[in-house]
Symmetry: C2
Subunit: 153 residues, 2 copies
């Protein structure tokens, strides 16, 4: 709840108005412990404001992303997912074949994150990172084509 209040203050500080629509979007995102799609956010906000329009939600989410309060990820599901920016970091291994998504924690990424900041001055958002590849189960199937492709190289 207090986090929600802080977020509202950041909005104001940046010179934006606090409308009920924005307030509800923020509240929903802040209350969730995982990433939500725009559709999920709309559904939840409508439990409180039934007539809310989806454009307002998209516009709010864009604004919140610009302000760095919310992050977007594309897990390859054909839509973007939103989450509070400072959630516990975690990442995803997504199999190209069976579409399975597996979660891994941030530990493996810390050194990478530091290196990018040192070398480029780039502040990477290594929250829920999407890594595509082939999971253990699907590797035999994928190998058939691969080994052929590189055999004569």
């Amino acid at each position: 709840m207090s986090r929600h209040v802080e977020l509202v203050q950041s909005l104001r500080q940046a010179g934006h108005r606090l409308t009920p629509q924005r307030e509800s979007v923020l509240a929903v995102v802040a209350a969730s412990d995982r990433h939500l799609t725009a559709e999920e956010i709309i559904a939840r906000v409508r439990q409180r404001y039934p007539y809310l329009n989806k454009s307002a939600v998209y516009r709010s989410l864009d604004l919140l992303t610009q302000l760095g309060l919310v992050t977007q990820t594309d897990l390859g599901h054909g839509h973007v997912e939103y989450e509070l920016h400072n959630h516990p970091h975690h990442h995803h291994l997504i199999c190209r074949h069976c579409k399975d998504v597996r979660q891994i924690d941030h530990a493996a990424f810390v050194s990478l994150e530091k290196k990018i900041e040192n070398d480029f001055g780039f502040q990477a958002e290594l929250d829920h990172f999407a890594i595509f590849g082939t999971c253990k189960k699907c590797q035999p199937r994928a190998k058939i084509a691969k080994s052929r492709a590189s055999a004569t190289r």
Copy 2:
């Protein structure tokens, strides 16, 4: 050119037919030294086969991805980009604010790649990886909201 021939063989080995459409898509992707969007691929293929249909291209690209010959990336531009699977690895730092894309090399990722394989048996496609964040130039702007948000935490 010889790489192209190998790829054609992989297709056949996996039990798929070699149609002129597939052949051209492969040729175009193999001849490019960077990732291409579906639209770019269609345009290039049409220089040789003017009447080629876009569905065939999408279907070919899906197949080639399934076979592991081609990889897909989403750099957050609203469309997928395709590339030969065994291009020299490189990655991208994409700024959320100015949309600037900066290339970095694979070196920083090797240990991460190994760790994922050891811990999960997951073969990560750490080709052209998309990392979102804030670039050096834009950090002052982004900080205004951020520092507010976490000040009272």
